[in-house]
Subunit: 646 residues, 3 copies
C-alpha cells in the first residue's frame, strides 16, 4: 500500500488525449498552442504507440515522441505518459502467437485491433516489462512528464479472462498456491456434486464450454485468478516506473461499470484512479429500458455516470481521481451513436468536479482520420475546426476551482467478487449485480444524498448510514467487521445478502449465515420474478426479486401483500440493521428516506433528472433533463445545466 | 420385449431424491427418520456419485453408501439405486478425453458439469459397464434396494448427438449396416440433389456446420443413429443389472417434452418409464406467449405437464409410470425461477396420480448447498427447516390410493422420428412438432377427455378416436396399419400428415402418399404463415399453417374463407377419416367435439384452467387457475386445487 | 470488355429450371412436351450435376444428359447449360479437404449442402477448369444449347469470403501486388492506429475474430480481394466456354440485394446478367418492419423486387437481362414461407418485362421430392399436377412482346465498395447501405419515375438527374468524373457521401473532401439516431441519421427544426448539386419531386402499392396492393394486377 497523496492537481484542471503519431509533424506541431489556448493543462500521449516506438524488436525510434514532448513542454503543457502495452505489435505476435488470448468460445482472439494478449503469458510479461523500462528510461525524468498511465482500460473487450493457454497453466498454479491440497479445493468448490472432484491439479481447466452450467465456485476462483493476473501485470509496470520516474504519479484509466477484475486490489499499486467517461455510449449498453434509453440518449443517465465517479473516488479511500477520457460528442462503439445536446459536455465536467475529480481530460484532440475510431468525435473535427464539444469547453468556467473534499455521510458497499458470483447465477432474467446496486444507488441520489462507494472490508467508520445492496459473499470475518459499526451506524442490506460463503457455496446453516445475529432474521424464500410477473409489498410494486424473512429478533417493517410470500416479511429491522428483500424502487426509496432522516442526513425528493452534490463548501445542482425544473428552494434550473452554490 | 408388470407399487406412494454424499454423515443420518415421518416410501440415491464410489480408477469406496442404505433400510424406506454414468469423473476424462462429446458448433464439451460423454464411445461404454457391474454387484441383492434408475435424463443438455469423434465413426458403420450399399443410401437420402452422392462410406460426416441447410434425410438418419446409441448404452447397463439384481425393476427418469431420442425404443429394455416434472421451469422453456408464461408462471401449464404423464404412461403400452423428480419450489435453470403458489405441489401430485402415476418422488430432500444447483429448492431449506413444498406435502392425503387403471378412449399418436424431420424443416417460424401436437392435445384436454399417447405403429385397437396431429413420416406398412382401424374408429389427421416417406423424402406421388385412399384427398398447397399473417376457415382464425386438399372420395367439411386458398378444403372427411389442414385452436376443438360425440366419448367445454381426468372409478377435477371456477355440474372448485370424486 | 449484344431473345420469352437427374427417365421424358405446351422456350439444366457427370474422378457419365438434351431439342426447347461447380462432389472434397471454405467464426464449412469451396483455392480452380472444359467439350457446340450459366449464385450463403486457408495466403499476395510496399499498405490502412503496422507480409491475416472492431480499411481490402477471387474464378470458366462453345452467350444468375462481391467487375466477362427473384422470401429477409413484412408477405415488396431488375439491367450498361429463377410459390429458406396471392406470379413476370428483362425463367419445373428443397414450390406439384403458379402462367399473355428499350432519365449510383465500408461501420443500428439506397430508390419509384442504377464511374451522360444515395468512397478522380456532369444534370447526394477516401480512411480535410467545391458545403456533424429517437427538419420527421452542413457556396434549402443540430443545414444546394443529410422518406420525396420537375422528368405521387414503368412505347401500370387503386388518370387498377398501355 502506497502513501496517501493530496489531490493532483490542487485546482481543478482540464486535459486532452492526443496522438502525435497519427498526424504529420508539420500539421501536428500547431496543436500544442491551440490546446493551451483552449485552457487545457494536461496532454496524454503515446498510449498505443508501441509499433512506432519499436518498429522491429530492439530497434527503437524516439525522435517523434521527443519532438512531441518538447513541443508540448514549450507550450506550457504537462505530459501524461503511457505504457503502450495495450497493443503488442505484429512482429511480436508473429514471433509469439501464444500471447494471444482465448475467448470464452474457445477461439483465439487475433491480431488486428487491440488488447490481444493473455495477462498471464510469461512471454508477454517479459515484453511488457521490457517496453515499460524502455519508455520509462527515456521519459521518466523528463521535466514535462507529470505522471503515468499504465496500459489502457484493463480488460476491455472481455480480455480479462483467457480460457486456455498461459492462463490455463497459471490457473492451476494459482489454485495450488491458494488451496494447498485438492481435498481443500474439492471441499471449497463442493466438487462432490456431480462427481466434479479432482484428483490431480492438471485435471483442472478454465470454466467454459461445458454441456451445462458451470460450478459457481469454479467460476469465482477463475475470475479471482484472472483478476490477480491483471493486477500483477500492472504491478510489474508500476515497479519499473517508480524506479525510473521518481516523483511522478501513476494512474490507470478504468472503464464505466466494468467489473471483470477487482479494482480495489488493482489500484493498490497506483496513486489514484482515473476512468473513461462516455455517458452516451454507456446509456446504450446499460440495463435500461428502451424508453429510458431514448430519454437519456443525449445527456447520459445521471446516476450511471456518477456511480463511476463515486466508485473511483472510493477505490483507494476518499481520494481524488481523474476522468482520463471524457467523451465530447458521439462515440463509435455503441449500437447507435448520437451526439449530445448543447450543454452536456459542460454538465459532465461540472458533474465530475462535483463528485471529486481533480482533472477532466477530454478524448480526443482531433477526431481520428484512420482505422477503427474514425467515426469517434474529438475536440477538433477531421478538418481541424473546433467541433461542438470543443466550442462548449471554450465557454466553460469550471477549471481552476479548488479540488476540495467530498463530504458524503452515506457509504454504499461494492464488492467485485460478489458481482461475479451474482451474475453467474442471476436466477431471474432481469436481475444483475449492477441493476440491484443501481436500485439502491439511484434511490440515494434521487434523495439528494452524497454517496461514498467503498469496499465492504475497508474502514467504514464515521458514516451515518451504510448500505450494502448486494453483498452476496459473507464470511465470519466480514460479518464481524460489519457488526462492529452497528452500534452507531444504520446498516441496510439488500436482497441476497450473505447468501454465500467466500468460496461461493451456500451458508450451511442457511442465510444470512454469519450475519444472522446482526440482521435478526433468517431467509425463508426467494422468488425470481419473470418480466410481467410482480407482487406487492407494503403497497409497492415489486419486480425481478422478492425474498422473505422469518424474524428472529428483528421487527417486521413491511410484509408482502400478495403472491406466494403474502404475509411474510419483506423488510425487517433489528436495532440499527435493516434488511430489504423486495426489489422495488419506491419501497427502497421510502425505507431509505426514513432511515436517512433518523441518521440526521438531509434527504429530499428531487424532481426528474435533477441531482445535487457537494464538494468543499459548494453545492452543485445539476439538471440532466432537457426541460427546466424547479429546485426544492423554489428556484428554477435550466435544461441540461448546472449551478454552483456557495 | 420384457414381460408386463403390475403397477409398482400397488398403491400410490411418495418418494424423494437424496444425496448422502453431499452432507456430513452426522448430519445426514438424521434424514431417513424425517423422510419416513413425512410419509415418503422411496429414496433415490447415488445418482451422480461416481467420484465418491471410485475416487481413482479401480479404487472403490462403498462405506458411505453402505451406511446410507443401512440407515434408510432401518427407517423402513425403500431404496432406488442409480448407475452414476451421467458424470464420468475427472480422472477418467483426463485419461480418455475422447469420451467428451462434440457440440453442434464443432467444439468439444468440457469436463466440469455433467453429461459430458459421447454415447457411441466404445471406451466410455466399457467404463459404463464396469461401474454398472461394480454398483450392481455391491447392491443388486440388498434387501432395501427396490429398483434401479439408469444414468440420469438421457440426452440432457443436447448431449444425445455428438458431431464428431466416436459418433462420426459409429455413424458410418450404422449406415453401412442399415443400407448395405451406397447406392441405397444415396437413393434414400436423395443425394443426387446438389451432388451430395457418396462414393465411399468414409466420406460421410455428421450433419453440421455446412454453408447452408442440411439434407433432412441425412439429419433424420443421424438422429436415428444417435437415438440408437443412447438406447444401446442403456441396454448394456440393463443387461448387467438384470444379471446381478434379480427381481428388481429398472426405470429411467426421462425429461419433459424431450424428443432427441426415440423413447419408445429406449424404454423397451426397462420395466416402466419415469420422468422428471418441473412445471414452472417448463413454462419458461415452452413455446408459449409472454402472456401465457405470466399466466402459468406459478402453477405450470396444465396440459404441458399432463402431456408428459400421458406420454410416459403410454411408452410401454398403458403401463404405470413414476414421476421420479417432482419439483417442489423454484428450479435454478430457467431464465427466471419463481416459486409456486400455495397448493401447486399438491395439485401436481394429484395430477400425476390422476394420469396414472404409481409414485411421485420429490426433488430433492435438502436444497443443495454446493455447486450448480445451490439455488434449487428442496423439501428442506439449506438450514434444514421444512420448506413450503415440504409443508404442503405433509398436509396432503393422496398417498395410499389404489393405483388403478386409466380409461382413455382416445389415442393421440406420437412419433419421435416425425418430430425430428418436422423440426429440421419447420417452414413457418412458429411451427414445431411440439406446438402442433399440443394444439390437438390441449383441444382434447379442454374438452374433458382422457388421452392415451401412443406410438403410431403400436396396437391401437379398442380406441373410439385416434388422433394423429403431426405424423409426417408415412410408409406403406404404417398406412396399412392405420387403415386397419378405420372401420370402427374415427381417425383424425393434422396438417403435414404423411408428407414424407420413412427416409425423409417426399411422397413421389404427392401427399398423403400411401394414406391417400384412406383419407380420400390429395394435398393441394401448404401455406406457412408468418407472425401476424392469418387466414380464416369456416369462420375460425388460422395462424402458422394452412394446407388445402382436393377431395377425391372425401367430403369437404370446411373451406378457407379468404387468402390464397380461399374456397379450397381445409377439413375433409372420408368415412371415419378426417383431415384437418388448418392450424386453429377453435377449429380443431369444434371438429373434435363433434367427432367425440359421434364416437360416444363424453366431451364438454371446460372453463379456463380446469381439467378432469379419470383413474379407476375416480374422477379427479383440477383447477390450475388462481381463481375459483365453476364446474360443469354447477359446483365450484377453488383456486389451484383438486377434487377426487367417486 | 466484351462487345455489346442485342437483347437475347428478341421477344420476351419464358423458361424454366429443370433437373432431369432428379427424376427417373421414364417419368422425366414426358416433361419437355409439357414444358413446350405451357409456352416455355428455355430450359436450364445440369446446374448442380457434377456427381452425376463425374461419379468418380475422371470417370464421366454423359448418357443421361445427352438423352435429356435430345428430348428437349426434340420438343423445340432451347437449352441453358451450366457449369456444376457450385457443388464439388464428395470424392473431391475428401481428396482435397483444403477446398472447403472457412467461415467468419473460424470453422471449416463442411460438405453436405452446396457452395462449400474457397474461390481462391488453386486446387479447386484446377478442378473448376477441368469440369468446365469437360462439359463445354461435350455440349458447347450442341445445336440445342443456346447459352450458358456459370456456377450458381456466386457467394450464396456467405461463401464469398473464406477467413483462412487458401484465401489467407492469396490475400497476402493480392496486397503485395496492390501496394508494393508495406509502408504504402500501412499508410493506406492507417495502421499507425493501435500499433497495427505490419513489418512483413506474412503477418497479415483475414480480418476476423479480434477482441474488438476490425480496421475498416483492412476489411475493405479483404472484401475487394475476395470479390476479385470470385471474379477470377468465373473468368477462368468463361474463357474455356468461349473457346469451346462459340456463338453462345454466357450469363450468371446473381442474387437479390446481394452485395458481397462487386457485380460490375464480375459481369465484365459475361454477356448479360441474370438474377434469381424470390419476392416473398426477400420480404422476410429485407430490412422492413414487421408491419411491412405482413403487408407485402404475399406479393413481395414492389421496390425491393424492381431494385434488382434495375441493378442487373444496369450492370453492363443499359443491357437486357434475364430473370433466371423466378419463384412461383413458396420458397423453403425464409423463416416463414407463405404462398403468393392469386395474380402475383403474372404481376412479377410483367414487372420483369417492364423493367427490361428479356426472359423470365421459372424455378423450378417439378417441386423437388428430395433433400434440402423438397418444400420449395415448382410449376408442378410433387404429384406432377400443375400447381397454382403453373396455372397462372398458362393464362398469362406476356411472352412474345418486343424486348424494347427502357427509357430512364434518372440514374441512381450504386457502388459495392461503398456498401462494404458503410456496413462495417453503420454507426446507427438501423442504418445500412441497403436501407439508405432504398430510401432514395423508393422515393423515385413512388414518384412514378424510371430509374437506371449505374456504377458511379461509368458513363452517365444523358441523364436528367443523377442521385447518389450513399457514395461513401470518394477520390479525386471520381469527384472530377461526377463534377463533369454538373453543368447539365442535377446531382443529388445523400448522407455520408464522400465520407472516405478510396482506402477507407476519412478525408484528411474533412468531408466531403474532393467533392467540396462541387457540393459547396462542408460536413459539420453527424447524428446516429437510435430507434425511437428522432429530430425534425423542414417539418419532416428524421430517423436513423441526421447530418448537418456548413454552406460554403451553397444555399440552405432546409434546416433542422430541433435537436442538437437545430438551425443547421439539413439540405443544401450549390448550382445543380443538392446535398441531403437527413434520413427522412418524406423529405427525400419532397426534394426529389421538385428537382425532377425542374429537370423535366414527369413525376407524380402514386398511391400505395401502385408503380409504373415504361418499356419501348409501352407504359406498364402495376398494383401490388391486395385492394383496387385509383390511377392518376382516374381509372382503376385491380388488386395485384397490371395493365399494359400503348
Amino acid at each position: 500500500m502506497i502513501e496517501m497523496l493530496p489531490p493532483i492537481p490542487e485546482n481543478f484542471a482540464l486535459g486532452v488525449c492526443d496522438y502525435p503519431e497519427h498526424v504529420p509533424w508539420d500539421q501536428w506541431k500547431q496543436y500544442p498552442e491551440r490546446q493551451k489556448q483552449l485552457g487545457l493543462t494536461y496532454v496524454r500521449v503515446a498510449e498505443f504507440a508501441w509499433s512506432k516506438m519499436e518498429p522491429r524488436e530492439g530497434d527503437f525510434d524516439w525522435q517523434w515522441l521527443d519532438d512531441a514532448i518538447e513541443a508540448l513542454d514549450a507550450a506550457g503543457l504537462r505530459v501524461v505518459m503511457c505504457t503502450p502495452t495495450a497493443t503488442p505489435p505484429a512482429w511480436l505476435i508473429r514471433k509469439h502467437p501464444e500471447i494471444l488470448p482465448i475467448g470464452f468460445d474457445g477461439h483465439v482472439r487475433n491480431f488486428g485491433s487491440r488488447k490481444h494478449y493473455d495477462h498471464a503469458s510469461l512471454i508477454y510479461r517479459e515484453h511488457s516489462r521490457r517496453i515499460t523500462r524502455a519508455v520509462a528510461e527515456r521519459y521518466g525524468r523528463h521535466p514535462a512528464v507529470d505522471g503515468w498511465q499504465t496500459d489502457n482500460e484493463w480488460g476491455c473487450h472481455s480480455t480479462t479472462r483467457s480460457y486456455g493457454g498461459a492462463s490455463a497453466v497459471a490457473f492451476r498454479g494459482w489454485l495450488e498456491q491458494k488451496y494447498g491440497t485438492l481435498e481443500a479445493l474439492n471441499q471449497a468448490w463442493g466438487n462432490i456434486f456431480w462427481s466434479q472432484e479432482y484428483t490431480d491439479w492438471s485435471q483442472i481447466d478454465p470454466p467454459f464450454n461445458m454441456p451445462t452450467d458451470r460450478n459457481p465456485s469454479h467460476v469465482l476462483d477463475f475470475n479471482r485468478f484472472a483478476s490477480d493476473a491483471v493486477n500483477e501485470f500492472q504491478a510489474e509496470q508500476v515497479a519499473i516506473i517508480r524506479e525510473l520516474s521518481p516523483g511522478r504519479w501513476i494512474t490507470h484509466n478504468y472503464m464505466m461499470h466494468f467489473n471483470e477484475f477487482d479494482h480495489y486490489a488493482n489500484s493498490e499499486t497506483i496513486d489514484f484512479a482515473s476512468w473513461d467517461s462516455y455517458p452516451l455510449g454507456q446509456v446504450e449498453r446499460a440495463p435500461l429500458t428502451e424508453e429510458e434509453k431514448v430519454r437519456w440518449a443525449r445527456t447520459g443517465h445521471p446516476d450511471y455516470v456518477s456511480w463511476n465517479h463515486d466508485v473511483y473516488r472510493g477505490l483507494k479511500g476518499r481520494r481524488a481521481f481523474w476522468v482520463m477520457e471524457q467523451g465530447v460528442g458521439q462515440v463509435n462503439w455503441a449500437p447507435s451513436n448520437c451526439i449530445p445536446v448543447e450543454g452536456a459536455i459542460a454538465l459532465w465536467t461540472a458533474q465530475a468536479y462535483a463528485h471529486g475529480a481533480s482533472c477532466v481530460s477530454y478524448f480526443r484532440w482531433r477526431a481520428a482520420t484512420i482505422a477503427q475510431e474514425l467515426m469517434h468525435s474529438g475536440l477538433l473535427r477531421h478538418d481541424e475546426t473546433l467541433d461542438r464539444g470543443g466550442q462548449e469547453i471554450s465557454r466553460m468556467e469550471i477549471a481552476g476551482r479548488a479540488n476540495g473534499e467530498t463530504p458524503a455521510r452515506v457509504a454504499l458497499l461494492h464488492d467485485y467478487e460478489s458481482s461475479w458470483v451474482y451474475d453467474v447465477q442471476p436466477h431471474s432474467q432481469n436481475a444483475s449485480y449492477i441493476r440491484q446496486t443501481m436500485l439502491f444507488y439511484s434511490a440515494l441520489r434521487g434523495l439528494g444524498v452524497d454517496v461514498d462507494i467503498r469496499h465492504p472490508d475497508s474502514d467504514l467508520s464515521g458514516y451515518a448510514v451504510i448500505v450494502a445492496p448486494a453483498l452476496q459473499l459473507m464470511g465470519a470475518e466480514r460479518a464481524a467487521h460489519l457488526a462492529g459499526y452497528a452500534n452507531e451506524t444504520i446498516l441496510v442490506f439488500g436482497p441476497r445478502t450473505a447468501y454465500r460463503t467466500p468460496t461461493g457455496r451456500v451458508q450451511e446453516d442457511g442465510q444470512p449465515g454469519p450475519l444472522r445475529d446482526l440482521a435478526g432474521q433468517r431467509l425463508l424464500n426467494f422468488d425470481g420474478l419473470r418480466p410481467g410477473l410482480t407482487v406487492r409489498a407494503g403497497g409497492h410494486e415489486v419486480e425481478t426479486w422478492a425474498e422473505s424473512y422469518e424474524p428472529i429478533d428483528a421487527d417486521v417493517l413491511m410484509t408482502y401483500d400478495d403472491g406466494p410470500l403474502a404475509g411474510k416479511a419483506a423488510v425487517t429491522r433489528h436495532g440499527n440493521v435493516v434488511s430489504i428483500g423486495a426489489w422495488s424502487a419506491t419501497l427502497v426509496t421510502d425505507v431509505l428516506d426514513v432511515l436517512l432522516g433518523e441518521a440526521g442526513v438531509a434527504a429530499m425528493r428531487l424532481p426528474g433528472g435533477v441531482r445535487v452534490s457537494r464538494r468543499g463548501s459548494t453545492e452543485i445542482w445539476m439538471n440532466f433533463d432537457q426541460a427546466a425544473r424547479q429546485l426544492p428552494d423554489g428556484t428554477e434550473i435550466g435544461p441540461v445545466s448546472f449551478q454552483f452554490r456557495g
